[in-house]
């Protein structure tokens, strides 16, 4: 076998292996009936004890329930909701978690359902990612990485201060 032929063979094997792996990956992803979209967390300041996280849970399968969560970033992760009544904000822990309807979606967003990192080990810095493992009754555990977003005004709203932006 000459060198070129050898190289071609090696390449073919590699290509086939890659294709096979890709197919497997697609299959695996295809069986995921529950997925997390656009997970993010708000940046926190030095000394700020807790931080909030948000995401959309998309469920193509049977009814499920988000029953708990954990993260190496904080001692504890809780599931909360917020209501404003008569001008007073009330934040409450939801020990039972959040119901995820069959073939439906649940939005965890500001002013509503969200997760709370309780007792952060260190501040969440804008631009970093924070790992979070969500526990679903049916779908099991899902680990996602939340993109940490700044609370500062968006660059478009503050052209005078663009130098400060990362």
């Amino acid at each position: 076998m000459n060198k070129n032929l050898k190289n071609a063979c090696a390449l073919s094997v590699l290509a086939i292996a890659c294709l096979a792996a890709r197919t497997l990956e697609v299959r695996a992803a295809g069986t995921e009936t529950l997925r997390i979209e656009a997970p993010w967390a708000r940046e926190t300041a030095a000394g700020q004890r807790d931080g909030g996280g948000f995401m959309t849970i998309v469920n193509d399968g049977a009814a499920d329930q988000l029953v708990g969560a954990s993260s190496p970033a904080s001692s504890e992760v809780q599931i909360h909701t917020v209501q404003i009544e008569n001008g007073v904000m009330r934040m409450r822990e939801l020990p039972g978690g959040i119901a995820v309807p069959a073939a439906g979606r649940v939005e965890l967003k500001p002013g509503s359902l969200h997760i709370m990192f309780i007792k952060l080990n260190q501040p969440l810095k804008a631009g970093e990612q924070v790992p979070l493992t969500l526990k679903f009754r049916v779908a099991g555990e899902k680990t996602v990485r939340l993109e940490v977003r700044s609370v500062a005004m968006p660059p478009s709203a503050m052209p005078m201060a663009t130098k400060e932006m990362k």
Binding site: Q48, G87, M89, M116
Partner: protein, 203 residues
């Protein structure tokens, strides 16, 4: 003793909840209801002297705010979204006012002095990159300013331990003489809120 303590705790919570409900009703009637106590100015008498602590633990009083109009908001750094959203909106609205807006001071007071320190509240306010003044104080100092603005705040124990704080979500607007002028309610539209701020800074 234990039973007494837990009964005592339950009683304290009940009292807090009652206070919160009564306070909520008072706030509502103060701002919207026909039963508001009549005052000569047509405005509820809110505000007055207070003393809190700045990032270095130095005294920060109502006198420090004199000379420029201010928007005062109460919350706590663990507040997941109502507080940051309100502060972000205030910063954005102030910017929309252009040069006049630069006069406006935005002040954030933490009503969670057990967990938030003056330094951590100041660091939290810095996150917004909008020169927001972050303050807190001793529980007594916080109680005094909250009382002056009729702000409701109540610790609510949570199932897995710890507590959250229910609190008012109004923004209190005062002129450069420190006198209360108006509130921005969380239900106000952007136009309503900016109109109030514009009026405040053009006085």
């Amino acid at each position: 003793m234990k039973a007494f303590l837990s009964r005592h705790t339950a009683l304290s919570i009940a009292v807090l909840v009652l206070l919160a409900v009564a306070g909520g009703a008072a706030l509502q009637s103060a701002f919207r209801g026909p039963d508001a106590e009549p005052v000569a100015t047509g405005q509820p008498r809110l505000g007055g002297p207070f003393e809190l602590q700045d990032r270095d633990g130095k005294a920060f009083t109502d006198k420090n705010l004199l000379g420029r109009p201010f928007a005062l908001y109460f919350g706590y750094t663990r507040c997941p979204d109502v507080c940051p959203t309100t502060l972000m909106r205030l910063a954005t609205w102030r910017r929309a006012l252009g040069a006049d807006g630069e006069k406006l001071q935005i002040v954030f007071v933490s009503v969670d002095p057990e967990i938030d320190t003056p330094a951590s509240v100041a660091a939290y306010a810095d996150l917004f990159r909008a020169s927001i003044v972050g303050l807190t104080g001793t529980p007594e100092q916080v109680a005094r300013i909250a009382d002056a603005y009729r702000v409701i705040y109540a610790k609510v124990p949570q199932p897995s331990g710890g507590y959250n704080i229910d609190h008012s979500t109004y923004v209190y607007l005062a002129g450069s003489d420190g006198r209360f002028v108006d509130v921005i309610s969380p239900l106000d539209t952007e136009d309503e809120a900016t109109a109030k701020l514009r009026q405040l800074v053009s006085r």
